[in-house]
């Protein structure tokens, strides 16, 4: 342990060196002149903070030891007993939510549900099968553009497109997965990252098909058994929701309806995945994650198993993507950047890999927190990055880690 005072001084000096050129000096361009403006305030503040933190490192650590995050949050074993109760509570809150909360809050909840779907899908790939996918957003884009193009060119409705988008995304997943899944973990991560970028670049440049950077607009919203949510029907002789039920037109209905569609879709995904992980294929995913060589020697075909996980994850993203396009009514390649993949991956890791409740809570938290911190809008992503780092240091297993199926030998 170095002496506190010199160590703290050194660290403060280092902080000064690091922050001076970035936040201490600003470049101003005026016409052809480039000027420098200095502001020592933030640099001194950062230096002081680091100095104090290093000087009182020992007492600070002792204090933080008293409120261990690990003791506040439940362990994997204790979680198992809470799970059914927690799930019921979550679903109940989710159903009651649109009728009690404001319109803005319902809209944010819909967004959160999209992230829940994405998180659950990626959880199959990363959490269960242990395949690191950094280009997950590509399949999300395939679903969204799939719906937008199908409805634009063939006039298909949302409900007709949904299964098609799922198939399309699954096919894309197979197409990509088949050649790359024999690669080792890190390489897989990079190939998927490259693939995600290729899809985004193609969307940006195939102007005739995708509209390029301008994207596609006027995407129809889902209907309720053919009833539109609009003031007036868009087609001759059509009936809208409020006309059919003889209600006053209210824009809020659309928001609530979209939320409920997202909720039903999420519950459907949750049900399907829960059945799958208790089936042989789900067990095989987890076995493969734990030990590929052991799996091989037990006669499991790793390529087929990986491919099934990969394409199922992809199809979930396609499912969510189609809904995203319908909700926004407008899509462009900006919505499908790498940062989106990173956010979904951090939802899975923060929630606890393989833990569905964890993933759901993390998705809700990561969508709701930035909204709650609107007044710090410009610091939002800064804090997001910081939270990712701190979580990995303090609680790498995630908020609510999954329980692994296991058997103990009797004593």
């Amino acid at each position: 342990m170095p002496k506190p005072l010199p160590d703290a001084l050194l660290m403060a000096l280092l902080t000064g060196l690091l922050t001076l050129p970035i936040i201490g000096v600003q470049i101003r361009v005026e016409g052809i002149n480039v000027l420098l403006e200095g502001d020592a305030g933030p640099v001194l503040l950062a230096m002081a903070a680091v100095f104090l933190a290093r000087l009182f490192q020992v007492p600070l650590q002792a204090a933080s030891g008293l409120i261990r995050l690990g003791q506040v949050l439940p362990t994997a074993e204790r979680m198992a007993s809470y799970r059914p109760a927690l799930l019921t509570l979550l679903v109940m809150v989710a159903v009651v939510w649109p009728f009690t909360a404001s319109r803005g809050a319902v809209d944010i909840a819909t967004l959160a549900l999209i992230y829940v779907m994405l998180g659950l899908g990626l959880n199959i790939v990363v959490g269960y099968a242990g395949l690191l996918d950094l280009g997950y957003v590509a399949f999300y884009a395939v679903g969204a553009y799939g719906y937008a193009l199908l409805s634009l060119h063939f006039g298909l409705s949302f409900w007709e497109c949904l299964p098609l988008c799922v198939l399309l995304a699954a096919a894309t997943g197979c197409l990509l997965g088949f050649p790359v899944l024999r690669l080792r973990g890190d390489y897989l991560a990079i190939v998927t990252l490259g693939f995600g970028e290729i899809i985004r670049l193609l969307l940006n440049n195939l102007d005739e098909l995708t509209g390029g950077p301008d994207g596609i607009g006027n995407i129809p919203k889902p209907t309720l058994f053919g009833l539109e949510f609009a003031r007036r029907p868009s087609t001759e002789g059509g009936v809208t929701f409020h006309q059919f039920f003889g209600l006053e037109y209210s824009g809020g209905d659309t928001v609530i309806f979209l939320y409920l569609v997202a909720l039903v879709m999420t519950l459907f995904i949750l049900y399907v995945i829960n059945r799958l992980i208790h089936m042989p294929v789900g067990r095989a995913w987890e076995a493969l994650r734990e030990d590929e060589i052991a799996c091989r020697s037990l006669g499991l075909n790793p390529t087929v198993i990986k491919l099934s996980a990969f394409s199922l994850g992809a199809s979930t993203a396609g499912f969510a993507g189609a809904f995203f396009a319908a909700r926004q009514g407008f899509i462009n390649p900006e919505s499908f950047t790498f940062i989106e993949s990173a956010i979904v991956l951090s939802i899975v890791v923060l929630g606890g890999m393989g833990s569905q409740i964890g993933v759901i809570l993390a998705a809700v938290a990561l969508t709701a927190l930035p909204e709650a911190a609107r007044q710090f809008a410009e610091y939002r992503m800064l804090i997001f990055g910081l939270v990712l780092m701190l979580m990995m240091i303090w609680r790498p297993q995630g908020l609510l880690p999954a329980t692994r199926p296991r058997l103990e030998l009797p004593q």
Partner: protein, 310 residues
């Protein structure tokens, strides 16, 4: 006809080599870190971006504030300042985001690295603003070859400078790794980290050294690119980072000559595809190249095959 083609070809080779040198400089940072601790240092692209900002600020301070006129002096001082501060960034990033996670499963440091990358990008954005900053070119002019009126090959002084500086730093690094005591320790670490530790070598210090070296080379790349392109923003790090990582994987990750080769191959591929296909497709070509290499030669061009042990 064929003469014009030959000249155009030469021009693309020149452009490709310039771009490739930059990629190679950044790629070394990825490959060294991966070779030793087996993690993808996702924040490396941001380190490069920060170095470009430091370079720009130092040049502005030197030329407008302090009135230094001699271009070689400005260049040397800028390189020195940028390398110093960027290396400090490299050291700090490892210390803050990766060292506490040593020995945890592979995904954990990767997420932390993504967090660090997002943090640094937004930190610079808050400090310097999100818009493009451009600077007047410091070094202008060049040589022209070819007949008057026809297609001329243009080789700018800046391109020559980039090539020369890159070769100097690459040679220095190669000598350091192959000849010096610390370099030998680095190679030992990349072969077997635990064993090196048992032999009484402070591996934590060596890992820090790797990050510092990688950041220093990224700083060189950052200063050179901000002089060459003359336009920077807080988002250049992400794209350059992915490209450089592609270069590292292309050459065989973990191998330093591989990263150099991969950078040059990638630079050439990009400049040819933007000349003979559409400019917008150069990134698609770069990533497709990566996918193809990984499919047919997963260990990269110069990488050694890795045997998975039970």
């Amino acid at each position: 006809m064929s003469e014009t083609f030959g000249l155009e070809f030469t021009q693309q080779v020149i452009n490709g080599l310039t771009l490739g040198s930059i990629y190679a400089l950044i790629a070394i940072g990825y490959t060294m870190v991966y070779g030793i601790i087996g993690m993808i240092n996702f924040a490396h692209g941001e380190i490069y971006m920060i170095s470009a900002y430091i370079g720009l600020i130092t040049i502005t301070a030197l030329t407008t504030q302090l009135g230094v006129e001699t271009i070689p002096l400005v260049l040397l001082l800028t390189l020195a300042v940028s390398i110093l501060i960027t290396s400090a960034y490299g050291w700090t990033v490892e210390r803050v985001a990766y060292r506490p996670l040593r020995g945890s499963p592979r995904l954990i440091p990767l997420i932390s690295a993504i967090g660090m990358s997002i943090f640094l990008q937004n930190y610079v954005q808050l400090g310097q603003g999100a818009r493009d900053l451009s600077m007047p070119p410091l070094i202008t002019g060049g040589w022209r070859f070819g007949a008057e009126g026809g297609f001329q090959v243009y080789l700018s002084y800046m391109q020559v400078l980039i090539a020369v500086v890159t070769v100097i730093f690459m040679t220095a690094l190669t000598l350091f790794i192959s000849r010096s005591r610390l370099g030998r320790a680095c190679r030992a670490c990349s072969q077997d980290l635990a064993m090196t530790n048992l032999l009484g070598i402070d591996t934590n210090r060596l890992i820090s050294l790797t990050f510092v070296l990688g950041a220093a080379l990224a700083a060189v790349a950052g200063v050179l690119i901000s002089l060459y392109i003359g336009k920077i923003n807080p988002f250049i790090g992400f794209e350059a980072g992915i490209k450089a990582f592609t270069a590292a994987v292309l050459g065989g990750i973990g191998s330093i000559p591989g990263a150099m080769l991969g950078g040059v191959v990638l630079g050439l591929a990009e400049s040819f595809s933007s000349a003979y296909l559409r400019t917008e497709y150069k990134d698609v070509v770069a990533f497709s190249l990566l996918v193809l290499v990984l499919l047919f030669r997963p260990t990269g061009l110069l990488g050694k095959p890795e045997i998975e042990k039970v």
